[in-house]
Amino acid sequence: MAQRLDLLDPADVARLGGIEIVAEGVVEGFLAGVHRSPFRGFSVEFTEHRAYQAGDELRYLDWRILGRSDRLFVKQFEEETNLRAMILVDASRSMAWQGAPERLTKRAYADRLAAAVALILLRQRDATGLVTFDEHVRQVVPARVKAGQWTRIVRGLLDTPDGQGTAAHAALQRLTALLTRRGLVVLLSDLLFDRELALTALRYLRHRGHQVVVFHLMDPAEVELSGPPEVRFRDPESSVSVVVRPRELARAYADTVRREIAAWRKACRRHGIGYHHVQTNMPFGLALRLLT
């Protein structure tokens, strides 16, 4: 039986070829496991209810439920066409880091995951675009559904070098102005920036009616601290360094990371933003399944 690339180790899959090959292979495997579009939007074919969130259009409110129970629910429909999706890829310097040579950098993982998501959306005839950014917006591929769009998106990824800057939240704020038509926004980032500032931008997108999904990418080495007995860790973006003994600080660091992830998850949930923590050793198929 042929192996499904979406379930293999991302680094192993990446060694098969470029982004296109990898993304196509992953998507093929992924779609072989689902029969309908995993992405839900607002169309004519009702699927389920969900709680109303600020920014939802009032026309989708279920007035019957409101009348019966005085609670706000909106109807969700299986999307068929006309979903506008924009994939935001963080290209800051911190994304170019890998904890071990045998693993992908966060940026490489994000590129491949973004290409796969874009391919799935385009195959569903959804208009899909790409924005890459660090402290500036680097590449913008407007959302289209026409032929060759995926190639443009992939080229946009390839043409975006590893960033130099660090202040990604500023770029996020500028991106909100570019996304005028509401739709799906997928952010792929390591979220190593100020949480409140970033959330402000994401909340604004949510307020504009976008459905926002955040992929918090982390290298496994960023979750479990390890290294020589004593080491000076330097932030590649800010050049701030700190000398620590990893064995001494491992537990406290792990607690800090857990708290940070929990804080992101809680903040995103509070604002109706989808949040997923993804480590770069997670098979792409599992990461894609988080979107469903």
Binding site: E222, V231, R234, V244, E248, D255
Partner: protein
């Protein structure tokens, strides 16, 4: 605290290793890019206090671990009050086996108690110690531990008195001269009060004197001395009254004569002496006069033995004695000698104590004639000057001066004179120095010479007449004249006394016996009264150097000044605890 391997302490420098490693490691840490430094900073900030405490604790633990291991390697010796090894010590063990140690107290020999304590003390010595043993002979015996133990084991009661003050002083000087860490003198004695002379031992600082406390006091009576004169033996008793409630008890005395001179046969005399309360030399003394059988007056050397009933101390219950009975002296009394002298000589001649002859001439103030002369002052005071010139011409340093005050005669040589009153007398003064003249004084009145001897001339301060003295009318007059003509003016054979096993040794010159030495224990040994702790402490070196202790306490205190225990084992256990603690802190506080 001292160390068996002090050079190992150099390793204490290694205690700086943890701190140095800490500093060196901090100097060149590798640098690694790590994007989520912000998380690290947060974690470090939150853990800073715990980490600092941990680092400090680990640094202390590791430094202490090295210090403890180095100290253990140096094998420290810590002072101990109980058991444990001690530092090399010079020690003199004084085992007082003087005659008094032969006393039986509570069913056991005092010497046995002392010997056990001494063996225990020697047994505690090590090969690094220098040990001497001193017995009652005062000789310091060196040697190995086994040899000293054998010597102690074979020690019996001796016959010599040990002056504890001198013994301790000698022992202290000996140990003080040794270049060893400890210096101790262990004194195992019955601590008789008479064994401590009036002086105080000069014990150098740094020398400890540990004395075994004396046991229970017991009563004892011994024969201090026996003298024979004029057909009677004077037996002096000595001893302690302890145990009798201080009440003098009559003491039966047996005199046995000729015990060693079988050719003279053996005669026995008995007497009963009631000890008096008079003291001589600090001891209660008493004397009893036992008349000797007539055959003991036979000319020649006599030996005898005085014996008491056995008591707790047997060594002083018997004492030999010797004396010489001279052959009857050829005596003549001049007309001025007086009728009492003539009558006494007649009695003595009848008793064959004297014979007619001119070897001894008794005169009444004339110039001394004959080879031996007994001279009374002249009856006419006007002739005193002439008589003095005649004495001076004979080479006699004594002379009569003015009349002296009446008084009572006192004499230690002639017991029969003691207590006899004198109503008229000339004072006798020495022409030479007083010291020279005092040597020949045989009796005194009011402290002034009354009977003196110079060479072969004897001078009397009074005429032997009842107008001058009551002596001619006293019962002892004839024995006095007997002693005067046979013994005093003729010169007595020397009988010396010495310490040793009871016996008599004669000194000979050619075929003649010219003297005798009587051996016996020192009379002071008879007094078994122990001294007080305060007196012993004071006499033996002072309270800062002397401790009088029971056997148990002495066993604990000996070598305690230098007693050390190897603490390396304890330190190794401590090192293990420190290592375990370090391991726990290093692993469980991450």
């Amino acid at each position: 605290m001292s160390f068996i391997h002090p050079l190992a302490l150099v390793g204490l420098a290694a205690a700086a290793i943890p701190a140095l490693l800490h500093l060196l490691q901090r100097r060149i840490p590798p640098e690694i890019d790590f994007p989520p430094v912000r998380y690290l900073s947060v974690a470090e900030r939150e853990s800073a206090r715990r980490l600092k405490l941990r680092h400090l604790l680990l640094l202390i633990l590791r430094t202490a671990l090295i210090v403890v291991i180095v100290l253990a390697a140096a094998r420290p010796l810590v002072p101990l009050r109980g058991g444990g090894a001690h530092q090399p010590t010079a020690v003199v063990i004084i085992l007082d086996n003087s005659p008094s140690s032969g006393a039986v107290v509570d069913g056991g020999l005092v010497l046995d108690r002392l010997r056990v304590a001494a063996i225990s003390a020697v047994g505690r010595t090590t090969f690094a110690d220098r040990v001497w043993l001193m017995l009652c002979d005062g000789v310091l015996r060196g040697g190995g531990r086994e040899a000293l133990l054998a010597t102690i084991d074979s020690t019996h009661t001796g016959w010599q008195r040990l002056d504890l003050v001198q013994a301790v002083e000698r022992a202290a000087r000996m140990v003080n001269a040794q270049p060893l860490a400890g210096r101790e003198v262990h004194l195992f004695s019955d601590l008789q009060s008479t064994a401590l002379s009036s002086s105080h031992a000069d014990v150098p600082s740094g020398v400890r004197v540990l004395a075994l406390a004396p046991g229970r006091a017991v009563a004892n009576r011994g024969i201090a001395a026996v003298t024979v004169s004029e057909g009677a033996a004077v037996i002096e008793l000595s001893g302690s009254m302890a145990g009798n409630g201080g009440t003098p008890q009559p003491v039966p005395v047996t005199i046995r004569l000729g015990g060693e001179r079988r050719d003279r046969g053996e005669v026995t005399a008995r007497g009963l002496a009631t000890p008096g309360s008079d003291r001589a030399g600090g001891m209660p003394r008493s004397a009893v006069t036992v008349p000797l059988p007539a055959q003991s007056l036979t000319p020649g050397w006599w030996v005898g033995e005085a014996a008491l009933e056995p008591d707790e101390l047997r060594a002083d219950d018997r004492r030999p004695f010797a004396w010489r009975v001279a052959p009857p002296a050829p005596v003549t009394a001049t007309a001025t000698a007086g009728s009492f002298v003539a009558a006494a000589l007649a009695v003595l001649q009848d008793g064959r104590r004297v014979v007619a002859g001119r070897d001894v001439v008794i005169s009444g103030g004339e110039a001394p004639t004959g080879s031996h002369a007994i001279v009374q002052p002249p009856a006419d005071p006007a002739l005193v000057g002439q008589a003095n010139r005649a004495l001076a011409a004979r080479g006699v340093p004594w002379r009569w001066t003015q009349l002296g005050t009446p008084g009572v005669i006192a004499s230690s040589d002639l017991a029969v004179l003691t207590g006899v009153s004198v109503v008229r007398r000339y004072r006798i003064e020495g022409a030479a120095s007083r010291e020279q003249g005092a040597d020949g004084v045989l009796a005194t009145v009011n402290g002034e010479p009354w009977l003196v001897r110079s060479g072969d001339v004897v001078l009397l301060g009074s005429r032997l007449d009842t107008a001058w003295t009551a002596l001619p009318a006293a019962p002892g007059f004839v024995p006095f004249v007997d002693a005067l003509v046979n013994r005093i003016v003729m010169g007595e054979a020397a009988v010396a006394s010495a310490e040793g096993a009871p016996r008599v040794e004669f000194r000979t010159r050619g075929a003649d016996t010219i003297g005798a030495t009587v051996f016996g224990p020192d009379a002071r040994e008879s007094d078994l009264t122990p001294t007080t702790t305060a007196l012993a402490t004071s006499a033996l070196g002072g309270k800062d150097r002397v401790e009088v202790l029971s056997a148990e306490r002495l066993a604990g205190e000996r070598f305690s000044g230098t007693r050390r225990s190897d603490a390396s084992g304890l330190l190794l256990v401590l090192a293990l605890l420190l290592a375990a603690t370090e391991l726990g802190v290093a692993t469980r506080t991450r």
